[in-house]
């Protein structure tokens, strides 16, 4: 591991930690504009995090250590996910530690811990949230894996870096299988990140919430970590999606110069992606909980079609 590689790795993680709340703020701003509301400032997520960190943490009397550990594990997993995902460069020292399948496993790990933490207090909402989160999770995970499989069949590799490099180096062409997989990936990301057709990140309406029900018992620094981890997750998903389907502009060496040049490309892509996400969230209505399996089954089906079309039409 070279020094430059270490630097690039640190830069990628720190950039993710710093940019993730900004991305959330940007999306919230656009959501507000598109819905005809006055938008909160772009830096609002940072202020919220700062406020939450300063508050004292109120923990239920019967909470077990799992409740207090879970936010840290979730945050650590998401930090690792951002370190693995090819955000800036495909040549990161951490990248070989986990391929696409392991990355899916990493997200599942975080999900299992936060669900266990939600069940820990024993209030009705926590368990309800845990159950719903696991429901969305077990449907989204196979779909996500199939999307990644479709991409990895093209590059004959499950290593994310390798996939991105292969995709970025091919002559520009229309790949129907990738197009279908891209739609499937978007649907899965919406579900995994508790976005509108599946869950509403802004809701506290008891009957419909999933993510908010999970973290209902958290406060203070624990809540701050969970929120930050949620924005990290969104950031990681966005970066993976952008790297897979818009692979241009990702550095392929670990020299500092190349990476510094990769930052504007990433920011530009995220800016557009954030607006698109806000648009999707605005023009769709949140669906009933038991429509969610159908939504995710559609994503799964699209991913399978992508796989089959790849088999028929070839690379």
């Amino acid at each position: 591991m070279s020094l430059a590689g270490l630097f690039a790795q640190l830069l990628a993680v720190v950039l993710a930690l710093g940019l993730a709340p900004l991305l959330t703020g940007w999306i919230n701003q656009w959501r507000a504009w598109l819905q005809g509301r006055r938008a909160p400032g772009l830096l609002q997520p940072y202020r919220t995090l700062h406020k939450l960190f300063n508050k004292e943490s109120v923990v239920a009397e019967n909470a077990s250590p799992i409740f207090r550990v879970a936010p840290y594990i979730m945050f650590g997993s998401m930090a690792l996910a951002c370190g693995i995902a090819p955000t800036l460069s495909t040549d990161l020292p951490l990248a070989p530690a986990a391929d696409a399948i392991a990355l899916v496993g990493l997200f599942a790990l975080a999900r299992v811990f936060i669900s266990l933490a939600a069940m820990d207090i024993g209030t009705s909402f926590g368990t309800l949230g845990a159950r719903r989160e696991m429901l969305v999770g077990f449907l989204a995970e196979p779909a996500l894996l199939m999307v990644l499989f479709a991409a990895s069949l093209i590059s004959q590799s499950t290593s994310l870096a390798q996939i991105v490099e292969t995709l970025a180096h091919r002559p520009f062409a229309i790949y129907p299988s990738l197009a279908v997989a891209g739609v499937a990936f978007t649907m899965v990301s919406l579900a995994e990140n508790a976005r509108v057709p599946v869950d509403n990140p802004a809701t506290h309406l008891e009957l419909t919430m999933i993510h908010e029900a999970l973290i209902l018992e958290y406060s203070g620094r624990h809540l701050a970590l969970v929120e930050w981890a949620a924005s990290l997750k969104l950031f990681a998903y966005s970066c993976i999606g952008l790297a897979l389907f818009v692979p241009w502009g990702v550095a392929e060496a670990d020299t500092p110069i190349a990476i510094v040049f990769a930052i504007p490309a990433l920011v530009a892509k995220l800016t557009v992606g954030g607006v698109l996400l806000a648009l999707i969230e605005t023009i769709n209505a949140k669906m009933r909980l038991f429509r969610v399996p159908e939504f995710l089954a559609t994503a799964f089906l699209l991913a399978v079609i992508a796989l089959l079309v790849h088999g028929l039409l070839g690379a």
């Binding site: 650590g76 690792l80 024993g122 368990t127 590799s157």
Partner: protein
Amino acid sequence: MLTLDWILIVIAGWLALGLIGIAALRNTAVVARVLFPAGAALALALAGLALGALFAPPETAVLAIGLPDLPFHLRLDGLSAFFLLVIGAAAVGISIFAAGYFRLGEGTPPGLMCLEYHLFLASMALVVLADDAYAFMVMWETMALSSFFLVTANHRVPAIREAGFLYLLVAHIGAIAILLCFGVLQANTGDYTFANMRAQTLSPMWASVAFLLATFGFGAKAGVLPLHVWLPEAHPAAPSPVSALMSGVMLKTAIYGLLRVSFDLLGAQLWWWGALLLAVGLATALYGVVFSAVQTDMKRLLAYSSIENIGLLFVGIGLGVLFNAYGMTALSALALTAALYHVLGHAFFKSLLFLATGSVLHSTGERSLGKLGGLMRRMPWVAWLSLVGVLASSGLPPLSGFVSEWLLLQSFLFTTGLPDSFLNMMVPVLAAGIALVSALAGYTMVKFFGVIFLGQPREPKLVNAHPSSRLERAGLAWLAAGTVLLGLVPVSVIGLIDPVTRLLVSGGIADAVRANGWLLLSPSSLDRASYSPLVFLVVVAVAVLLTALGVRKFYHGRLRRAPAWDCGFPAQTARMQDTAEGFGQPIRQIFEPFFRLHRELPSPFDAKPVYRVTIEDHFWHWLYLPIARLTSRIARVVGRLQQGRIAIYLLYSFVTLIVLLMVVKS
């Protein structure tokens, strides 16, 4: 002395311990403090010997017991050594746990339990050592019988007697199929040694017959669809250490038998055998995990989860057969490595979980998930150790379940090289099934752990739950340590599996894996795929620590304990928590066609509203009950011959005698 001799000494030691147990029939102190720990020590020795034997050339022995001219042939090769390792390593933890578990007053006296338990262990070890059909079948039946008696330890409960009977029935139907399979394999030579069977070349038709018989017979023991009905009845009925042995270890002897017959004894393989195993395995896995998610009894939940894992093993073996049939040795080795890795991993984590339910059962007297909860505070050791098993069982990194899932998915991704274009497209789609199964396993395990250990105690009596004994904890800790180790050093473990795949398909992936260093697991090249659990764990741990330190440094660590928020409705009790049934409800709704659901809903005017839901198996109604009815109808017809008068019975014998004499004369 040969390793095989030492192994036989260990097995003889187990039998001796069993006999001593008979002498100390009701002396719990001797049985628990001396015999079971000694059994654990022997198991450790067995595991060590097997580890050495993995890399040694095959050894054979002939034991002159049994019928004259029909001695037991034994053989210790890579495959049997690997399964001996599984038996030994899991038995260490289970025996230590059992030392703290069995006590007086649970039906069978502890001394007898000790005999049955060690006989069970010894017969399993001899099954994988047997080198002729005769020895194999004798040991196979001993294994079935000793486990039958262990299952029916609490034989005063009618449900347990029924479960035991069903188990015995299916085990024997399976045994008949295995016997017939050996009959086909020896190809009319009259020589039932495995060496002879290896030497025969069967026509594709007869080879397929033998393969189908073996799949049926071993499938019945393993609990593969549609022969699974006995498993969720018998495994939970047994005392927990026995459940652990049955689910964690005994099911693996069926896998051993399938591997032995389909790879070793049958020479060439046909591609559709693999496709069959793949289809059956996937159906079993999905069926098992869906049923597991809706169970309300913690041991039944685990039993169904075992069915799921057996399904995954069949998928791995099926892929191995498929690749091998097309001569793709390296890929076949990869798929088999995934399956064997899972054999080892499952032996540890499933035993661990079953033992944990044993601890919970002992300290609360409750197996229904609807009446547990909040035990994390009462029994933290059991909770944290079973969390390891839960995470492994969910297939989460960096534990053992994930490694085998990862290897399995990798071998699925390689399928595109198959020469048959239909399989080429079909098989990668099946990988989606594996992904669905493992994600659902996560759902099930969150339910298992969350409902038992988290939340508030659902019953007042749970407040008195006592922590587990020290021996119980030690047994759990051994298995948990094994699970963690298997998860963290996959490269070394694959080195252990390598001799087995070399024996089965004369190819292995260990060299390719070792070429990339001990830290990174990569089955072919780093460009293709890589995974490093250790780096994974370290980075997450460092990130967690740094975050915790950072939060402390820049902010404060103030924490206040307060009552949980009651949503403005203060009159809440612990019974109002979400139940296990509630947790399974989404699965019930989504996978409704899988179940035979009966639901009783209370009307709004009921003074004492009762909600009841029962979930039954379609197979039981559409397959087993018709067969049972047919059997009893035939039995009734035959029963007419029974008149109850001695004269009539004498007449039957007389007529038979006359007819026989006539036949002999002509």
